[in-house]
């Protein structure tokens, strides 16, 4: 199950919303500002790419999973019927590709990838970042609760 899933109409103005959601999830997962900048840029590229490739009536589908040491993001295009659209032969923008590859720890793009839960090769972008300094695992469920003040 993804931590967060977001589906949006393929409109450029929604890409910013997707970036904000992704960065918010990453921040809560413990990523530092430098990594958040990388995540912001790569997610923006992946979603902008998907917006350009999603057909009318379809949706861009972004899923974020964090497991305390790693953030994984998949962005795929869905048609009006909700099915993931197959990879196309559309040319990749070299600037966008350079940013995807330069900003993510792991990246696979388009027909070269097998997405989780999808048997055959599909369109889409998969990105992953490792937490550079994973926080020690505390009791789950209270990760974001305020820490009680120490009495001195």
């Amino acid at each position: 199950m993804p931590t967060i899933a977001l589906r949006f109409s393929p409109l450029a103005e929604h890409v910013r919303t997707a970036r904000l959601v992704a960065v918010s999830v990453a921040r809560r997962a413990g990523f530092e500002e430098g990594q958040l900048d990388e995540i912001r840029i790569a997610i923006g590229e992946a979603c902008a790419r998907a917006v350009g490739r999603t057909t009318a009536g379809g949706l861009v589908d972004m899923r974020l999973c964090d497991d305390s040491s790693r953030l994984e993001v998949t962005v795929v295009e869905r048609g009006a019927d909700g099915e993931v659209l197959p990879a196309t032969d559309e040319n990749e923008d070299p600037l966008a590709l350079a940013l995807l590859q330069g900003m993510a720890d792991d990246v696979s793009v388009a027909g070269s990838t097998t997405l989780p839960g999808v048997e055959e090769r599909r369109a889409g972008v998969r990105l992953a970042w490792a937490l550079s300094d994973p926080a020690p695992v505390t009791s789950p469920g209270v990760l974001h609760a305020p820490q009680p003040r120490q009495r001195t």
């Binding site: 450029a12 890409v15 840029i41 923006g44 590229e45 902008a48 917006v51 350079a98 940013l99 900003m103």
Partner: protein, 122 residues
């Protein structure tokens, strides 16, 4: 979403001050503005990006397009940017070799003027 583009004349150069986020949604606004300026005869541009919070590949494409347009009029396009997160976008895409990037508007104007002079002499 929140992109602001203003321009002014300074020492014979057109300073284009950009602030906010340049992304797939806002980049067309920047493209239009640059096209208007070049169309109106402003061929030596200094794009001040100190106020830019975010820049994506679409924004880079607009800047490259602007560079091509001014060059077709024997013009120039210099950038002003010190923000590491924005500079990184230029480095990763190899565009630091394409754009002259300066720390201040004054530096950019000076470099623009000297390159212009050298270009005229050669």
């Amino acid at each position: 979403m929140d992109l602001s583009v203003t321009s002014r004349e300074e020492s014979g150069r057109t300073i284009v001050e950009v602030s906010g986020e340049i992304d797939v949604y806002t980049a067309p606004t920047l493209r239009e503005r640059l096209n208007e300026l070049v169309g109106a005869g402003h061929h030596h541009l200094v794009v001040d990006m100190e106020g830019v919070e975010f820049l994506d590949s679409t924004g880079l494409g607009v800047l490259v397009g602007g560079l091509k347009r001014v060059r077709s009029h024997d013009g120039s396009l210099h950038l002003v940017c010190q923000r590491e997160k924005i500079l990184k976008v230029f480095r990763i895409t190899g565009l630091t070799k394409v754009f002259p990037i300066h720390d201040t508007v004054a530096d950019a104007i000076a470099a623009s003027a000297s390159v212009d002079g050298a270009g005229a002499a050669s």
